[in-house]
């Protein structure tokens, strides 16, 4: 366990606290049990894994792509290729898309802002060219409905929970209530006995 802790540079501080008094992460009465050790070493390996993943993200993200290039890529992803519906010019292999990528590059190099570039393409192709709808006019509804739906869903869940709670309170007054649901109806008894009779006759 100690080894695990010590090869771990960042997590050291919290781990000493956690590991040594054993309070935070072990159940009472289980101090120093093998179980606790397993847990600690698992946490260690998890944190090492996270560190490992982080470095890969960071490694990929350090500055080998200039900010300008980054902006160009960002722009390419929000502009649609006019002849290959649904695909951004970033995705598309089409010649038009590659020409448009060149235009984006030029505009970014000229120091145009994001909105200016968008306006340029809207001017040429209309608002349909943007993959992300604007927040004006009818497109506003695209953005407004999801939060409304979310609040609606939350209200429905709250109401359903309240109703189910109420039913449970009522039914716990009458404990046999549950069984009543399970009893077979007369109609089904008939069906059932009909089958029994038939089988016993055969």
């Amino acid at each position: 366990m100690g080894l695990c802790l010590n090869i771990y540079p960042f997590g050291l501080l919290p781990f000493r606290i956690l590991g040594d008094n054993g309070y935070w992460i072990s159940n009472s009465g289980m101090k120093n049990s093998p179980y606790q050790n397993i847990r600690l070493s698992l946490i260690n390996s998890l944190l090492m894994l996270v560190l490992f993943l982080n470095t890969s993200c960071i490694a990929a993200n350090s500055d080998f792509v200039s900010q300008e290039e980054d902006r160009i890529n960002q722009m390419n992803r929000v502009i649609m290729c006019p002849v290959c519906p649904g695909e951004s010019i970033d995705q598309s292999q089409n010649e038009i898309a590659s020409n448009m990528r060149a235009i984006v590059k030029d505009l970014v190099r000229q120091g145009k802002t994001e909105d200016e570039i968008k306006d340029y393409f809207i001017g040429k192709y209309g608002p349909v060219i943007l993959l992300e709808p604007s927040t004006e006019g009818i497109s506003l509804y695209v953005w407004v409905v999801p939060p409304i739906a979310l609040s609606f869903a939350m209200i429905v869940v709250a109401l359903a929970v309240a109703r189910m709670r109420k039913r449970q309170k009522n039914s716990s007054l009458n404990m046999n209530h549950d069984l009543a649901d399970e009893v077979i109806s007369d109609e089904e008894k008939e069906k059932y006995f009909a089958v029994i009779n038939r089988i016993s006759n055969e």
Binding site: P14, I38, N54, G86, S98, I129, G137
Partner: protein, 666 residues
């Protein structure tokens, strides 16, 4: 040969009609013989459709271009092995594929249902035959792949070259199978409703089984599709929120909600109505998926099987939805829950919240997908709703789901006391805070990534905590650690299989988060001999060679690549041009490691020897592909039946005497 197939098609249409009518009659009149007759009628459909399929494939293999569908979807140059892909690459053929696959799966389902749910099965059979009947009617009257041309052609038009990829051997079959297999749990549920036995929970085991089969097929189809896009479409991404992708995602979301909430009905007899609604919605969405794929109103890259028939599917979807809801309302009174909710903080309510979230995401996806149609109809405003919208809106909701996935399984059924919550969630929450801090210290600054990693670690720790806790208690009863672990998983397979699936979802979430926030992309112009650097990778463009095939010309670039100082060999990205179609397809070369993918793809080869390449470093993508097998393994564990000794040990006194009256004499 084709004529033989035509006859088989007509016969199968007649048999489907017969088993629909007789199946429902058998259910209503409670006639065992009628039901058996309908069943055997249904069994006969699958071999007939297989015969029709065989005749179509035979036409492809023998280049019989007098058959219209063959002429449209293949040519002499096509490698013969692709006859199988060509079979379902067009509209008519994919319908036949769906029909034959469904007849096989439904046959198996009905065979099992017959012994388990004698009252429900005739109705379920009726519903399944009706679904099949619809497909057969469409095939026979609207899009028959076996129809002949008036004149025989010399050569066919060929298949869309983007489909010439071995991923196509598996992705579309799984996707279509997944969509249509939603009809299986749907038929069982509607069958139980019609038989008036929806409130008895006896359909739950079978509904869950086939729901999970369908879920597994849908998931596999989606993952294979993402993988296909990543390796062949050559833009370095795997998911673009395209209408067809969305339409495959929506039924998946609804089915995911269903396979979870059906567990609540199994365990607690609750959510009876809710499960019915969910499966009805899931089937409607699956139909919607087939509708959009078949040349629906939304433009998409994936509409390979384009036709105007989408509207027939839409109409049928509306009718199905309407009839299902009518049945549901008429049988409303049979669906009362056995018990209510004991506490607001319990696993039941976590399931409810999870269900709502899944449906909400499905709804938002639907909303974003169809909104352009609405806005055009209302306002004549054309617009596009693409990736940025869906990422912004659905991304946070999906993170919330991953969080629920972490805390839900450790909340006890019925009622969670603060003591147990504290005991179960303390460790995961502490660890997630540590992960958050650690990520912050190590330089992650995107707050969504920080949140996502913290949430994933909550879920990860709860899963491991559960596994260790269970193994430990078995270990303390004298089992060795290894044995304790495996017997733990074997003892409650739905639960621990579910945990394995959850692990794979965490892998997916980590991969998606890292690769969407930390991918690096660069377009470089190079001449042979040039070297460029991206991150730790150095790549040297050596040469380009041209290779001619009967159907295409490939320009293959040769790269030598170093990672740091280590030579990792040559990479060969290429661009294939199909003159007949005027389509170019690029194939990236990928060097994949556990940490990141180095991805090279040519965009353009210019006349003067210059070439444009796109170079990407995508972190953690391989984790997503690794999640696939883990997910399948988990689902199979969850699906595997209990072995006999366990079943005997767990058997409870049978309260429901009428559960299986036909077996009573045994």
């Amino acid at each position: 040969m084709v004529e033989l197939g035509q006859i088989a098609l007509m016969l199968s249409f007649m048999m489907a009609t017969y088993s629909t009518v007789v199946g429902f009659a058998g259910g209503m009149l409670n006639g065992r013989d009628l039901a058996a007759s309908a069943r055997w009628g249904f069994y006969s459909i699958c071999p007939l459709l297989m015969l029709a399929t065989a005749s179509l494939i035979y036409a492809f293999v023998t280049n019989d271009f007098s058959v219209k569908y063959v002429a449209e979807n293949s040519n002499i140059a096509m490698p013969k092995i692709y006859a199988w892909v060509a079979f379902y690459s067009g509209n008519a053929g994919s319908l036949l594929y769906i029909a034959v696959a469904f007849s096989l799966m439904a046959g198996i389902t009905i065979r099992i249902l017959n012994s388990k749910l004698p009252y429900t099965s005739p109705y379920a059979l009726g519903v399944m035959s009706m679904v099949l009947l619809f497909f057969l009617a469409v095939i026979l009257f609207l899009a028959n792949p076996l129809d002949r041309h008036p004149i025989a052609l010399e050569d066919g038009q060929g298949m869309n070259p983007l489909l010439i990829h071995f991923g196509m051997f598996i992705h579309p079959p799984f996707q279509m199978l997944g969509l249509i297999s939603v009809a299986l749990p749907f038929s069982i549920a509607i069958g139980a409703l019609l038989a008036g036995r929806g409130g008895r929970d006896e359909w739950v085991d079978q509904g869950r089984l086939w729901g999970m089969v369908s879920w597994l097929l849908l998931t596999t189809g989606l993952l294979l599709g993402a993988w296909w896009a990543y390796t062949i479409l050559g833009w370095g991404g795997y998911w673009a929120w395209d209408p067809v992708e969305n339409s495959a995602l929506m039924p998946w979301l609804a089915m995911t909600a269903f396979v979870h909430s059906i567990m609540v009905q199994k365990r607690r007899g609750m959510f009876r109505m809710w499960n019915m609604v969910l499966i009805i919605v899931a089937f409607a969405m699956a139909q919607m998926g087939m509708f959009i794929n078949r040349g629906g109103p939304v433009p998409s890259v994936h509409s390979f099987a384009e036709s105007t028939m989408g509207w027939v599917f839409l109409a049928v979807m509306a009718v199905t939805l309407f009839i299902s809801l009518v049945i549901f309302i008429f049988r409303f009174d049979t669906l009362k829950s056995r018990s209510g909710l004991d506490s607001i903080i319990s696993r039941e309510s976590a399931f409810l919240a999870q269900n709502m979230l899944f449906l909400l995401i499905a709804f938002i996806t639907l909303w974003g997908t169809i909104f352009p149609i609405l806005s055009e109809a209302v306002d004549e405003t054309t617009m596009t709703i693409g990736q940025p919208f869906f990422n912004k809106v659905n991304g946070p909701l999906m993170l919330l789901l991953v969080f629920l996935m972490g805390i839900g399984p450790v909340l006890p059924w019925r009622k969670a006391g603060w003591g147990s919550i504290n005991r179960m969630l303390r460790l995961p929450l502490i660890v997630s805070c540590l992960v958050f801090l650690l990520s912050l210290i190590s330089g992650i600054r995107e707050y969504w990534v920080l949140i996502s990693f913290a949430i994933c670690s909550v879920s990860l720790v709860t899963v491991f905590q559960e596994l260790i806790r269970g193994s430990k208690s078995r270990h303390s009863h004298g089992e060795s650690w290894g044995r304790a672990f495996f017997s733990l998983i074997g003892a409650n397979r739905p639960r621990y299989g579910g945990y394995v699936v959850h692990l794979s979802i965490i892998m997916l979430a980590v991969g998606i988060t890292a690769s969407s926030f930390y991918d690096v992309q660069k377009d470089v112009v190079m001449r042979p001999g040039d070297s460029e650097v991206l991150g730790k990778y150095t790549f040297k463009y050596l040469e380009v060679s041209e290779k001619s095939y009967p159907d295409r010309v490939e320009e293959i670039a040769k790269f030598e690549v170093w990672s740091g100082n280590k030579n990792i060999g040559y990479m060969y990205p290429y661009r294939a041009f199909y003159p007949e179609f005027q389509i170019a397809a690029t194939k990236g070369a990928i060097h994949s490691t556990i940490l990141e993918d180095f991805y090279l793809v040519p965009s353009e080869f210019k006349e003067d020897g210059q070439a444009v390449f796109r170079v990407l470093v995508n972190p953690l993508v391989s984790w997503m592909w690794a999640a696939g097998p883990v997910l399948i393994l988990g689902t199979l564990i969850a699906l595997s039946p209990k072995n006999r000794t366990q079943r005997k040990r767990l058997q409870l006194p049978n309260v429901n005497v009428d559960q299986n009256p036909l077996r009573i004499s045994e």
